[in-house]
């Protein structure tokens, strides 16, 4: 059974595209056939973050409008066997997306892929709505910062009301999990930044992962490599842990996976568990 996962946040700049690329690459590394779709019509960026910007020929909108076949628009990753990108259009606007068109493309992708990762645009308009509409699960990307948490709460409200699952009215719901990004353990410990617990208490959804603020995220973006392919990077390892949890594994929550400074989090987990 294939799964459609939307990566969403409401607020811009919190790491949706970085997370979509990292999660997609992480799933593919584990052997799951995965496609990442860019829903940000008019502001194409997933292709740059995944390093395939020079190979875009046809896009999501061409497929929706019948100008190209899906297999012509899918770009196969050059590093990972199981990873594909469906880029968005750089020239159209969000009105080119239709509910029926998105459904048809997702249905076709479900035939072939294990995971379909939808990289949502910021905001709560058409593109963001359609990115979440057919999702089975949601990864809500949030920074430990007031406006981001507020916007995530708004998005959670939409996931619970404006999606195909919610509209079934039989108690079905999109399974939403929190991905806390740009987290700084030291600033949080000193009270300058909200703690993981604080954010969880406000949003009241399960925690998928904590991605530490890391210089390797910019480096990965510079080079067009999903950060989860950099196993020396704390953020990359944290994304791989999050992907493990996404596919149902039990993995201990750590801010800097692979490092020994875990006292704070063991205490934190002791309290939340």
């Amino acid at each position: 059974m294939s799964k459609v996962i939307v990566v969403t946040s409401g607020k811009g700049g919190v790491g949706k595209t970085t997370s979509s690329a990292a999660i997609g690459a992480g799933l593919a590394t584990r052997g799951h056939k995965t496609v990442v779709i860019d829903f940000d019509v008019g502001l194409r960026n997933l292709d740059m973050i995944m390093g395939c910007e020079r190979r875009v020929v046809f896009d999501f909108i061409n497929v929706i409008q019948g100008d190209a076949k899906l297999k012509q628009a899918l770009i196969k990753d050059r590093r990972l066997e199981n990873l594909y990108v469906l880029p968005t259009s750089q020239t159209r606007d969000k009105d080119a997306l239709t509910k029926e068109g998105v459904k048809a493309v997702l249905d076709e992708l479900r035939q072939e892929f294990d995971y379909i990762v939808c990289d949502s645009p910021a905001g709560i308009e058409r593109g963001a709505h359609l990115a979440m509409y057919y999702a089975d699960e949601a990864v809500v990307v949030t920074n430990p910062e007031v406006s981001s948490v507020r916007d995530s709460d708004r998005v959670l409200g939409l996931l619970n009301s404006k999606t195909a699952l919610a509209e079934k009215g039989d108690g079905s719901a999109v399974k939403a999990q929190l991905l806390l990004t740009r987290f700084d353990q030291n600033r949080s410990a000193s009270g300058e930044m909200m703690s993981v617990e604080d954010v969880l208490e406000i949003l009241a959804i399960p925690l998928l992962g904590i991605i530490p603020e890391s210089t390797s995220v910019l480096k990965a973006s510079n080079e067009g490599t999903p950060v989860s392919l950099d196993d020396k990077s704390p953020a990359g390892r944290a994304y791989l842990d999050a992907v493990g949890r996404l596919v149902g594994e039990q993995i201990e929550m750590r801010v800097n996976p692979g490092e020994q400074r875990r006292g704070f989090f063991q205490r934190l987990l002791g309290r939340t568990a």
């Binding site: 194409r44 740059m48 910007e53 020079r54 190979r55 875009v56 020929v57 046809f58 896009d59 061409n62 100008d67 190209a68 076949k69 012509q72 259009s89 750089q90 020239t91 910019l218 480096k219 973006s221 510079n222 080079e223 067009g224």
Partner: protein, 92 residues
């Protein structure tokens, strides 16, 4: 310290980022801020022209584009029915 003099310096990631952007934006700007939206039309035209001479499927034309700083290549593959028949005969 040692490896420094032997190895050619790898470009910094910032340099890589700048170069990637320069290539991409040069293409986007030269096409009037647009990505090659003419490709679906080109594909349709190619199909039409080839069909004047032989029967081919709607999805027999495959277009690939590869951009780099000094050269872009457009690769057009047309699957001909003759080759296809041979293949099915060979398989059967």
């Amino acid at each position: 310290m040692f490896g420094f003099s032997f190895r050619q310096r790898k470009p910094s990631s910032a340099q890589t980022a700048k170069e990637r952007l320069q290539i991409l934006l040069a293409h986007e700007r030269s096409s009037g801020g647009a990505n090659p939206d003419f490709l679906p039309l080109l594909q349709r035209d190619i199909l039409e022209v080839v069909r004047r001479h032989m029967q081919i499927d709607g999805d027999a034309v495959d277009i690939k584009l590869e951009r780099s700083d000094d050269l872009s290549s457009l690769e057009i593959n047309i699957e001909l029915p003759y080759a296809k028949q041979l293949k099915t005969q060979g398989a059967g």
